[in-house]
Symmetry: D3
Subunit: 317 residues, 6 copies
């Protein structure tokens, strides 16, 4: 069974899977003794240092940062912090761990799937229905859609964050469509559902959420634009203007040039996805700040990203 | 019956009520002849020049810009434009006109009232229920709430625009409350409903939408903050922190300092009202641009305020 | 007599009043021993840690952060810093301390009062004279006006800072009025005198300068606007346009939207108060930087807020 | 032979090809007479109005804006301007016109081709050599590359502008590669050569330079990214990291988010293409302003885009 | 005696000096008749067109824009405007005009001189006293200092504007020195007095205010820096650090990089000059807007430069 | 022989010249023992602490920060870091050290000189040739030109950096001149060569690169403007407009007001120098970041100044 880092106490024996966050070979003071291995290992509850004193160099060669590793050893205290003295360490065997051990869990996957199906079922446009039906019938893709986080940190940075966030954006877009009958409901909903689809290629998130090289070099709006273009390319009768509209929504959902939209959103549907995305992201961010703030005082700590502290304020009795 | 300006043709006799947009006494070339009166009169369909040649100075003294006036005369053509030669002009009698002749009509007032009542009925907090019940039971105030426009130009610049826009913001806030159970639903809804309440003091809108001196000198967020403080002052047991929270939402709903919020929104509810307000305003603005664009081409004209043209794009067959 | 923190040496006995800056109950390593009390206590000369080992939990319940407390104990050295081992601690009795022990003193109160009286005496407008005469005849208010600081840190962050700063702004406005005869001297002076009046509600400053909830949620321009509206409300014959003008000056004295003015200053008097306030604040800030810079070298340290170091430069022999 | 608009004089007979810039059917004052056709026709020397009085509606149906049309008629003067009274108008036959009649000519095509070949010949990387060899061996593509303009207005807005500008950017990149031996010369040169390749899809430029729908909805950096990805897809052994690097250069060549780069350039080569592109574009823009400024005075008129007038200044005797 | 343009009426004979604002030779419709001369001539009250029909080309050769010219002719009306039919035109003889005919007059020169002398007399630092005494004893320089305007348009754009504005800045700096005893009073006053001295080289202002080539290419802060350096160079014992300080004040008085200060002001004295300059310029600008606004309504027209209309507001009865 | 700091090991005897980076006299815990001397000494390989226990106060008086000092003593380890216990310390004798010990070396001086001579030889304008010939024939100046760094940190912060950077800017300007025949080649080249000449007065760089008071108070563009004006003043027949043009280039080479250009560049030559300077500076900066990044991983660390990490990416096999 998984042993969580925040529960380790001095004296405890450890035998569990952890993510290898940092690996260093450090020379002993007496250089003739060679090097020891200093690791930082992590799971979703925190980080801890771990040291391997013997045979470090050989063992180190078999471990890579971001790997999952099986660690055996014992916890002790050193200069006021806990650390593990490793007896044995090796790459973790499959089946010995699950993503939920390393990344915060989000909303229940079945709930997300139900919402997703309901939303797809509500569409009328045959081209768009086919697009989604085909795409989501690809099990791997569906799995990725339901597992990928929506961010490294700021908001929805958890397993399933992408789907949860996208469905939340859809929920606002549905309301916009109720208020504005002239909007193309199907286009805006599919746009909302897929706006962040490029994040599947932008993030690696087995044991921690990291940005891929493609993510850094191109960004998820362009990656998503490309993924959708490829899928649409498999539907020969997909109307070109509809394809352009959908791709435009994905490409421009950051809404402003300085936020990474290469061109401005230029349709009511693209602007709706932008403002609903903004609403979803910012509100979630605020609730994350409130939740992560340990004290339960009237004001949270000052948060740099949003340049303010949050007032918990009045509570109903 | 109202004669609309865009229907006046040379040769037609005019006898109808118009708004006095501009009034000028102009000397005849032969100064010994005194001055004639040159008016610009308006209704919601446009503007037209009107001239009064005889006895102008005395009559002019009885007319003020922004007044409604009863104009009798005849239409003729002059240098390629129509103009009215006035025979008789006087302040308009009450009952001879209605606001809808001068300002674009918005959503049906009864529909707005129904929505408003439904929303108020959905609240649970007794203090907030009492606040709204008392305030809206003031007939004059209710009338103002249902008649006031939400803007001079940009969006919801029509009779009833304030209520329509506020209820639209509520509709998004309701959805946020469904997604985030920790939000204080009653506070966010009352905040959304009242966020623009200061516009009742910011605008004059009998015959055209104009900004009052108070509106220019203080702005509607501060005016609204004050109106709500005054109403809350009538409820002696209204909890101070609840009052502060509600006032904070009203004061900060422009969301960013450079957009006129004197301080940043600092609660989830205040941020929700800001982002829902943004969503409502911007989407309505886009649809107004599309509607006002006379041609029905693929792209609207370039709009300066939003720095782009809008793509009408793909349409379902 | 007050014992100042920067004078405490290992071995000294302490029995004095301090401000309680931070209070924590920390479990002993051996949890069966319960918790000890770890305080940070402060006065205007600095901070020091203080520990109470016995009966901590009960005693802690009677102490709140920001309180003034009477501390008895002894100073020792621990890991290179001084700390106090507490023998006895309790809320401070009134009369045992004075604000000047905790906040830097500013200009002499009598001098401020004289300047204030002189300025009020120089007014001609009866409405404004009455407004000030009545308001300052309220002893509590006068005391607050003469005690409140003008800032948490940046400039005039001392007892009496508000009055000193306001009178300085007046001194520049008087000069503007000499240069521009068309300016309304009385309006601009009263505006200058009261522009920061909202800080009385924005700051708490018994033992340290802190921002109140009202201060954070509304900001002092809006709070001041409201205070003045309330006072003017007590003068039934106060001309409405004069009231509007004065309130406009208070509301807009930050001068630019991005600096927290909800609307721009729109009268010569409002713009004068803004630019004189800027002049006063910035010059004082520079002299504070120079004074707080310990070395007396040619250049002060780089100051982040003003993005520069200050050159002490040339000195008269 | 082409008759140029800036040479038409009252009394002249016209029979030549023009671009149809604007087409309007306008009712006669006497509506029973139906409508006449009012055109604005253009070539690279200017615009002129043209009227067709008889049978306008039927003829209008056969003409579309941006078409080339054969116009027969006579020039007369009307209210101080020249206009054409049309006798006959029809779509222009192929072979009766050439692009140079409508768009300003740029650098000689053969010179461009020679430079291009020289540059390609200077490459060493086999993958990149093959990429360019294959692509430019496509005659249509080569023709487009050598004909497409580089802008609608600002700089290199002429036939062949794309190639001229790209080769100029290459010339600076060559120099950077001489100064920095660590730069990947081949990558930076191919990046420079292809950085604006998406403009082939962004512009329509038969008779005037216009932006396509794709151009507006996606922008040329993304379109170019996609074109290159597609070409690379035809080379199965093209190394993925090389492909990523090249695509990154294309995507980010606007250099800053607010200028339309969806992500920042993150390699020395991508930054080199950005700064060389900037250098080329801005210097050309200045020389265009100088050339278009009709007077030959010391200072050109103030140019809004670059917020300054240009000083022609000192000239060698 | 000077005939002012705003007093010219049809039928009047003209024989007066005007500034030649614009000169054009225009071909007659019948090109065989050659060209006529179309002038725009100006004085401080406005502009008027003037035409010379005969012998225009020869006469035109003797006239240059910005020259003062003696115009003889008669006023007539043409298309609703007055214009002059010229009988004779030639360069104006010296003594026939004075600057005050062409540029708005500012404060009385003697008053300015008195204030200047008083200020110089109040200095204590011998080096600075000598600097000013020597410089102002140069009659030409003194004359320029007392005549030069302070701007082309925005504020103090009148004869003597430079001196008036500089003395106004001094008046605020004097007040700062009263409030802050640590300021170097002499340095800040001389800095204030000379901060805009470069405008003497930046402006040409015989008949209208124009910017010189040096003004455009270097700007008055750098020109002033250089002028002062040159004068100080004539005082061999002038202390270098004092010289640096003074030059720094002149160079940085625009206060922020984006306003044209090449480096930030880095002494209390330099910052004082900046903020006092800002105060003087902005308040004067507002009063100029109020004065130039023809109507005397509650609000002036919207002014683009300051992005607002000005409220004339409350007036004492 | 120079002992480098990064090679010192515990136990080693030291006797070498170092730069004195920081000097502090610190009281012993037992104040009766007086003070010891705590130094930070530096060379181009790093910094180390050094302590002198005996006779510190007298010795300290003879040492100034930024001096070069001869240090004798021994290295030991203290709390995990090396430090030197000083036996003897005194100002360094001339001839015992060379600049290259303290500042990173740049390009070979002879190479720079050759390039410089070649460039000067390529000029045609006699005035400019004379200017450069005379100036560079001043040995001291030539030495400074070839030794001065181009920056404190960001780019070309090494001995000879100024010349290397200036010649690099020239190399791009040469290419611009090849592309644009209308550019004044001689002016742009001399401008490029001298654009940063003011850095000779802006930096002190004997043992570390520091900014002089003049550098801080005026900045190198203004200092360079002045140096060139002075040199040109020695050539009586130097054409004034050519002088203005050259001075304008120097003054405006930062290109934008917010980057420290007091006015915008207003000639093609000034804009060319600006954009070529930008190109040179930014590309060098990126290669410096890559080089200073210790690991040789795919991505460098995030660099704050350019707000990105650099991708080392694809490498030719």
């Amino acid at each position: 069974m998984k042993q969580y880092i925040n529960e380790l106490q001095p004296g405890v024996k450890v035998n569990s899977v952890f993510a290898l966050a940092k690996k260093q070979l450090i020379p002993f003071r007496d250089p003739s003794k060679g090097k020891f291995l200093s690791l930082v290992i992590a799971d979703k509850t925190g980080q801890i240092e771990a040291k391997l004193w013997d045979g470090a160099e050989e063992i180190a060669a078999g471990l890579a940062e971001e790997d999952l590793i099986q660690v055996e050893g014992a916890v002790s205290e050193y200069r006021g912090s806990n650390q593990i003295t490793i007896e044995k360490v090796s790459p973790a065997a499959a089946g010995k761990w699950q993503p939920e051990d390393f990344l915060p869990a989000g909303k229940d996957k079945q709930l997300l799937l139900d919402e997703l199906r309901q939303l797809v079922a509500s569409l009328n446009n045959e081209h768009l229905k086919t697009l989604l039906a085909n795409w989501f019938s690809d099990k791997d893709f569906l799995q990725q859609y339901l597992t990928c986080p929506a961010a490294k940190k700021v908001h929805h940075a958890c397993i399933g964050g992408l789907a949860e966030h996208s469905l939340e954006v859809c929920s606002y877009a549905v309301q916009v469509a109720k208020n504005y009958s002239k909007i193309n409901r199907d286009v805006v909903l599919v746009g909302a559902l897929l706006h962040d689809i490029g994040k599947i290629m932008e993030y690696r998130y087995q044991t921690s959420i990291a940005v891929t090289d493609s993510g850094k070099l191109f960004g998820h709006p362009v990656l998503g634009w490309d993924m959708i273009a490829e899928r649409i390319g498999m539907q020969p009768d997909f109307p070109a203007p509809l394809a352009d509209h959908l791709k435009h929504i994905i490409l421009t959902h950051h809404g402003q040039l300085e936020w990474g939209a290469p061109v401005l959103p230029q349709t009511p549907e693209a602007m709706t996805v932008f403002y609903c995305d903004l609403l979803s992201g910012r509100i979630r961010q605020v609730f994350d700040i409130i939740q992560q703030d340990e004290d339960d005082e009237l004001w949270t700590r000052y948060d740099r990203l949003i340049s303010r502290a949050i007032y918990r304020g009045y509570k109903e009795d």
